[in-house]
């Protein structure tokens, strides 16, 4: 990692050190190292099958790994994820397929975890949920079921649900890939406003123009390895690696990199 890419002022919120992950004999991730300071926004990009989703799922405690350290806000995640519950209230995860609870109303989706996991009172959880719904511009939809909402609305509910646990890091695994094009921007707008409020975020995305305006740092993966880790400014204006250049040429046709 280049020195410029490491801007964390205080102790890192997210530490990923020498992480290796296999699916059978296939090396899904090899020797991954990332550190993320408070308030930093990291975009993970790369071609399909490069391991970006696997990496963010490892950080979320959803994938076991062979070796390496992952700790978030000082909480160390076992490599078999047996202690994944230590991440409760520390991480928030937003999935490509939303994964809202279809049998609960929007408001219930937002209040269930605060009430059952954090033991917050119903009044308090409701108040927080309404505040978060307002933040994602869905105040009027609290009583609806997820199936009655559009994809973009569902994904914004999913973001609000994650926020209700007051996480220190928000993880996004291709949050707009399952959306119709006209709904992508409403989700990206919400993400950008969270970023401007200082939320620490890791985002796996194919939306490269969004990544350019949003990210502090970029991790470019291929075949489970970090090809390039750089500040966003460097990555988008002067990528150092041939593979990154080729990837960016495809993402931004018409732009020429040296």
């Amino acid at each position: 990692m280049s020195p410029a890419a490491r801007q964390a002022t205080d102790a890192p919120v997210v530490t990923v050190r020498d992480v290796n992950k296999k699916f059978g004999t296939f090396d899904a991730l090899s020797d991954i190292n990332v550190e993320l300071g408070k308030g930093e926004k990291l975009v993970i990009c790369g071609p399909s099958g490069s391991g970006k989703s696997t990496l963010i799922r490892c950080i979320a405690g959803l994938e076991k790994r062979v070796s390496g350290e992952i700790s978030i806000a000082g909480r160390r995640l076992d490599s078999d994820c047996a202690n994944a519950s230590v991440l409760a209230g520390v991480i928030g995860m937003v999935f490509q397929q939303f994964n809202l609870f279809p049998h609960l109303t929007v408001l219930e989706n937002l209040t269930l975890a605060p009430r059952k996991v954090l033991k917050t009172s119903k009044t308090e959880a409701d108040a927080l949920a309404r505040k978060m719904l307002e933040r994602v511009h869905l105040s009027a939809h609290g009583g609806k079921y997820p199936g009655q909402l559009s994809g973009g609305q569902q994904q914004r509910v999913a973001i609000a649900r994650a926020l209700c646990m007051k996480p220190q890091v928000l993880l996004f695994d291709e949050p707009t890939s399952a959306l119709d094009p006209e709904m992508v921007h409403e989700v990206l707008d919400v993400m950008a406003s969270l970023a401007s409020e200082g939320m620490t975020m890791i985002v796996v995305t194919h939306e490269m123009s969004f990544a350019r305006s949003f990210a502090d740092r970029v991790l470019f993966l291929e075949s489970g390895k970090i090809v390039e880790a750089a500040s966003a400014a460097t990555f988008f204006s002067a990528p150092s690696h041939e593979r990154s250049k080729a990837f960016l040429r495809k993402s931004f046709p018409g732009m020429v990199h040296q």
Binding site: M93, P102, A113, P146
Partner: protein, 233 residues
């Protein structure tokens, strides 16, 4: 054919109808209660729990209910070591034996239903629950089971009707339900067609009402919530 028998049979059979209703409702309810842990065990990661549940459902679904009832009512009291235990008084009451037998049988079928329902809940639901910090049991209680039961609800309604039909076998162990009462009336009147026709009518009415109740519950509980429903704006 003596048509008066239709009328004269009706009241005694209606009196026995209470037994059929009780047998069905208690057999079904205990079957549901026992079937839930069986279903959870079937879909669990624990090899021991899964194996035990598989053996149970395999044996109970693989043998006839009639034989199971005969073993419980006629067979178990021959096991002298059970004499003096807490279960002994129950083994000589035919209605209790029939309820236990039907419940154990229904639990095996219900367990398989519930286990299948749990497995059909999308993996993403568990993942979302985990990242929100829910424990395994909380996930099961608040996320997985409510969805599993919604998806198998029509089959559970069907199971109720099957339990009602299965309850007729209780007459083989001296239970005076509608079928048992009908057989004893036939022995006196020699009018099997009329008597069994009335019995069949009672079952039909009971089953139809139960079916309506389940359809009503389904419409209310399964309303606008299609699992995995994507965009419906």
């Amino acid at each position: 054919m003596n048509f008066d028998i239709f009328a004269s049979t009706f009241m005694p059979l209606l009196a026995a109808f209470g037994t059929t209703i009780a047998l069905t409702i208690f057999g079904f309810t205990f079957g549901q209660i026992l079937g839930l842990p069986v279903g959870i065990a079937l879909s669990s990661n624990s090899t021991i729990a899964k194996t035990l549940a598989r053996i149970y459902t395999f044996v109970w679904r693989g043998t006839p209910l009639l034989v199971q009832l005969l073993i419980i009512y006629y067979g178990l009291p021959r096991l002298t070591f059970l004499k003096g235990t807490v279960i002994w008084p129950f083994l000589i009451a035919p209605l209790v034996c029939a309820t236990i037998g039907i419940a154990l049988n229904s639990a095996a079928y219900t367990g398989a239903l519930v286990g299948g329902g749990i497995q059909r809940v999308a993996a993403g639901q568990r993942e979302a629950a985990q990242t929100l910090g829910f424990s395994k049991w909380q996930t099961l209680r608040y996320i997985i089971l409510p969805q599993a039961y919604r998806s198998i609800f029509p089959a559970i309604g069907n199971e109720f009707i099957l339990v009602m039909k299965a309850s007729t076998l209780a007459s083989a162990i001296a239970v005076m339900d509608v079928t048992g009462a009908a057989r004893s009336i036939v022995a006196q009147t020699y009018a099997p067609f009329q008597v069994f026709a009335v019995a069949g009518l009672l079952y039909f009415v009971f089953g139809s009402i139960a079916g309506q109740v389940f359809r009503f519950l389904e419409a209310r509980r399964l309303g606008p919530i299609g699992p995995g429903a994507a965009s419906a704006s």
